[in-house]
């Protein structure tokens, strides 16, 4: 699925030259194969007969041995573009070089010629890559040789054109045009551009500042530099690097209260992520001795302090005055909060609904539901949740939804959505997971569900859905993990849009409709839903950032060209979805990704969930299992530095060593 990056992209002006002769011609639209003219006259331009008849002329001009394309503009244009269509399949992210010889006699220095690549979609065009601006006037051939970066792969459903843009009256001639993709290779004069410099990853600006200012900044006191670099490492989930930076900070600045005031929270995050709870306790003691106070430190003190015994009313206020939602919520789970303590907490109405739901769960299921449904309603859900009376140790097995308010958004007439489900040992959850997708208000869906060599009754459970014409069943003989199954089934999917659903999660009935509607309205190519994580007994999970509602990477929905351009998922057991999403986030324009900030999925937060599976687990405190950390850190490093510096072979080896690598294998249809 990787594109052939060795393919050079060379464009020449031979086609254009060969169709010109010494006589000027006047063109509108297509000139020859691949070349065309597009123009918008300036409103202030004259409209005399001569202008109407020959606003421009195009012909062959010879400068010594160099044949050039000559363009004479006889009037003023807002823009006049000579464009060549580029083959989208060859236009991939990376460093490029444009060479061009030109002559220009434009006098207006504010409106000099420029060269760029324009991306066109149905709605129009926008600049995809700026190559050269303000080409200065020159009476003799001037040779332009410019390096530039293309920040994102071209997409198959768009058209790309190399464009020489003029505007003011006068003559412009060019020849020797070539656009060449630089081959992989590291030339420290700037030809190799690591991805973080070419794309807009969340860490790009920080890392560029840090690297470019390193020599100077470190000579003048490394503290701020190291703290910022620690922030970059944490955002990349590179906890090996974060751990080293944390040790450096403690070793060099551990006794400095001001320094620890800056660095302390990030050091603590690192300790918690690596599961070094003793280290975290010791660090908190040291910080307390230094008098360092910070919300995250105070919150961690509550986490690590064990069960509170006795005492008066409990305050969950953090040093900033904000509420420690995470700490309070954990105490509600274990029924450790007194009613009057709950009453005295400064909830926001939004968060309060869930905190009360979790609190009231111990006393009354009806009250629990009322609060949870209040939360859903406040987030625009037309559905409320119901719980039936059948006994189950998983609340999602008892969940159903009732429509309380009119539906909005797309319900029919939209594109076919392929929903891919990978199920492994999910006999106790896959029924409700499948029903929740089959019960979607958006009807134009197909479901491709694969049993991933389960050892329980999952496959039999799935066969019960075979009668539904929207369901296509698959099975494999060897367990290969959800991401390999995604890659396989995307090849089988018929939908214009592709999304996923986990075999132990519940999608609210309007999930697909909400995501398709958001993409349609915004013209986006990717959408994500939000979710609430819920424990089997019904407790809703907050994370250490004090948030309940989180982006749901499992729900990512994209157009097929997005997968063709950025897929496939890596053949590993965990982390490939966040790796894929971060790639999209860095490389696609922001407008192409839309997040639906509504609770559209209830994700099971149980021991059987992938995120909770021993060996690759992650938890709400921030802990990441070693294999997950090792792989995610390296993937983050590769994402920003590129494959030349962090080769795929290294990631593959790390995945194998962490026992999270999975070999793709065949899936066969079970529909009979």
């Amino acid at each position: 699925m990787q594109r052939d990056k060795s393919l050079p992209l060379e464009l020449a002006n031979q086609d254009l030259l060969s169709c010109l002769d010494d006589h000027p011609r006047y063109w509108k639209g297509t000139i020859c194969a691949g070349w065309s003219i597009a123009a918008r006259p300036s409103q202030s331009a004259g409209t005399g007969p001569a202008d109407d008849d020959m606003p421009h002329a195009l012909g062959l001009v010879r400068q010594g041995d160099l044949p050039m394309v000559g363009i004479d503009l006889h009037r003023d244009y807002s823009w006049f573009r000579l464009e060549q269509v580029l083959p989208a399949e060859s236009l991939v992210a990376g460093p490029y070089r444009l060479r061009l010889s030109y002559l220009s006699d434009g006098a207006d220095k504010d409106r000099l010629p420029q060269v760029k690549i324009i991306e066109y979609n149905q709605a129009g065009g926008h600049t995809f890559a700026r190559i050269a601006r303000n080409l200065p006037a020159s009476g003799t051939p001037r040779h332009l040789d410019v390096e530039f970066d293309i920040a994102a792969n071209a997409l198959a459903d768009r058209q790309y054109r190399l464009c020489i843009e003029l505007g003011q009256p006068g003559r412009f001639c060019f020849g020797g045009l070539s656009l060449i993709r630089d081959q992989d290779g590291l030339d420290l004069n700037g030809q190799h551009v690591p991805p973080y410099r070419a794309y807009h990853f969340p860490v790009s600006k920080d890392l560029k500042d840090l690297n470019d200012g390193m020599d100077s900044d470190l000579r003048h006191g490394p503290l701020d530099w190291v703290v910022r670099m620690l922030g970059v490492a944490l955002r990349l989930e590179d906890y090996e690097t974060a751990g080293g930076l944390a040790r450096y900070l403690v070793a060099h600045h551990g006794a400095d209260a001001e320094a620890m005031g800056k660095a302390g929270p990030r050091i603590l995050d690192t300790l918690l992520a690596t599961g070094d709870l003793d280290g975290a306790r010791g660090f908190l003691i040291d910080m307390a001795a230094l008098g360092v106070r910070h919300d995250r430190l105070a919150q961690a003190g509550r986490i690590l302090g064990g069960t509170r015994t006795g005492g008066g009313p409990v305050s969950y206020a953090l040093p900033s005055g904000k509420l420690d939602v995470f700490g309070l919520n954990r105490d509600t789970e274990y029924n450790r909060v007194a009613f009057d303590d709950m009453l005295s907490q400064p909830f926001s109405s939004d968060t309060g609904q869930i905190l009360w739901a979790n609190y009231l769960r111990h006393a009354s299921e009806a009250d629990y539901l009322a609060r949870l449904n209040g939360y859903l309603a406040a987030h625009g859900s037309p559905f409320s949740m119901r719980l039936d009376d059948a006994p189950s140790d998983n609340i999602l097995n008892r969940a159903s939804f009732r429509q309380d308010r009119p539906l909005s958004g797309l319900l029919s007439g939209g594109p076919l959505v392929s929903v891919i489900v990978a199920a492994w040992n999910a006999e106790s959850t896959v029924d409700y997971a499948m029903r929740s997708i089959l019960g979607q208000t958006y009807r134009n869906v197909e479901i491709l569900v694969a049993d991933d060599a389960s050892t329980d009754g999952t496959r039999d459970r799935l066969r019960a859905f075979a009668g539904d014409p929207r369901v296509r069943l698959f099975g494999g003989e060897r367990n290969q993990g959800a991401y390999n199954i995604r890659n396989r089934l995307i090849g089988q999917a018929r939908g214009e849009l592709i999304t996923f659903h986990d075999a132990d999660d519940v999608a609210l009935p309007h999930r697909i409709a909400a995501q398709v509607t958001a993409m349609t309205e915004k013209g986006a190519r990717v959408s994500l839903a939000s979710w609430l994580r819920i424990k089997p007994q019904g407790h809703l999970v907050a994370f250490r950032d004090n948030q309940f509602l989180r982006m749901c990477l499992n729900s990512i929905m994209f157009t097929r060209p997005v997968f063709d351009g950025f897929g496939p998922y890596r053949p590993v057991l965990c982390g490939a979805d966040s790796e894929f999403y971060e790639l999209l986030r860095g490389r696609l324009p922001a407008r192409d990704i839309v997040s639906v900030a509504q609770p559209l999925v209830l994700g099971l937060w149980g021991d059987g969930s992938l995120t909770r599976t021993a060996g690759i687990e992650a938890d709400e405190i921030g802990y990441r299992a070693p294999a997950r950390r090792a792989y995610a850190g390296l993937a983050g490093r590769q994402r920003i530095l590129g494959r030349l510096i962090v080769p795929d072979a290294l990631l593959d080896r790390t995945a194998r060593e962490g026992a999270i690598a999975r070999t793709p294998s065949d899936l066969v249809s079970l529909n009979g």
Binding site: L186, Y196, R219, I645, V646
Partner: protein
């Protein structure tokens, strides 16, 4: 025994002698790898304590790693374009003897990389250049192999270094990191060491064309995170 290792090649024949004299006078044995030579140049024969080796291929800067040393020998890795002050060897040995660190590698030219180094020469690196002053010793990721002092037992094998021609500093730093040898850039005054000017230096050709293997090596040991061990 005090041993100095250096590599040179014909284009440096007239400029390197001064450098070789400056270090030869301070050691028991000066090992010289003569890349691209067919015989020992007459001018070099004045170096009484020198042994010459003409490799069967151009080893470039790898040449200084093709000599044996005893475990307790004091080895100095040198360049053919640096003038070493008269107190260089004695001072470096004294610093090493007084160091509280276990198995330190001492050097005069040090580099610390960004934790996410992308290969640029003017970005993502803190460089303490050998001819500039440094007020206090600093632990760094990498030391230039033209100014290094180690014990013989700390030297990498030639096989380990082979393949790193053009980036031996990086490969040596990886070796030191893997063995847990802290690399210390020593304190000194301005121009304690000075450079013999040449038309073309290895440094230029190396830093302008750093191969991807070199950058992959840097990922193993580079960054402030790697300066403090767990």
């Amino acid at each position: 025994m005090r041993i100095a290792n250096v590599a040179t090649y014909p284009a440096r024949q007239h400029t390197c002698l001064q450098a070789l004299r400056s270090i030869a006078a301070q050691v028991d044995v000066l090992n010289v790898a003569l890349n691209e030579y067919t015989d020992v140049p007459e001018a070099f024969r004045e170096l009484d304590n020198a042994t010459f080796h003409i490799p069967d291929r151009n080893l470039r800067d790898l040449g200084k790693f093709c000599f044996a040393a005893g475990d307790d020998d004091d080895v100095f890795l040198c360049d053919d374009d640096i003038l070493y002050p008269a107190d260089y060897v004695a001072w470096m040995m004294r610093l090493r003897a007084e160091s509280p660190l276990t198995d330190p590698v001492l050097g005069v030219h040090g580099v610390t990389y960004s934790d996410y180094y992308d290969g640029r020469s003017r970005s993502g690196r803190l460089v303490h250049t050998f001819y500039l002053p440094l007020g206090a010793p600093v632990q760094m990721n990498q030391l230039g192999t033209g100014t290094i002092h180690v014990k013989g037992r700390q030297m990498p094998t030639f096989d380990y270094m082979d393949g790193s021609s053009g980036f031996v500093d990086i490969r040596f730093a990886r070796h030191a990191h893997e063995r847990g040898y802290p690399m210390i850039c020593v304190a000194r005054g301005r121009d304690w060491l000075t450079e013999v000017k040449n038309e073309e230096t290895l440094y230029l050709s190396v830093t302008r064309n750093l191969p991807s293997q070199a950058l992959q090596d840097v990922q193993h040991f580079g960054g402030l995170a790697r300066l403090v061990r767990p």
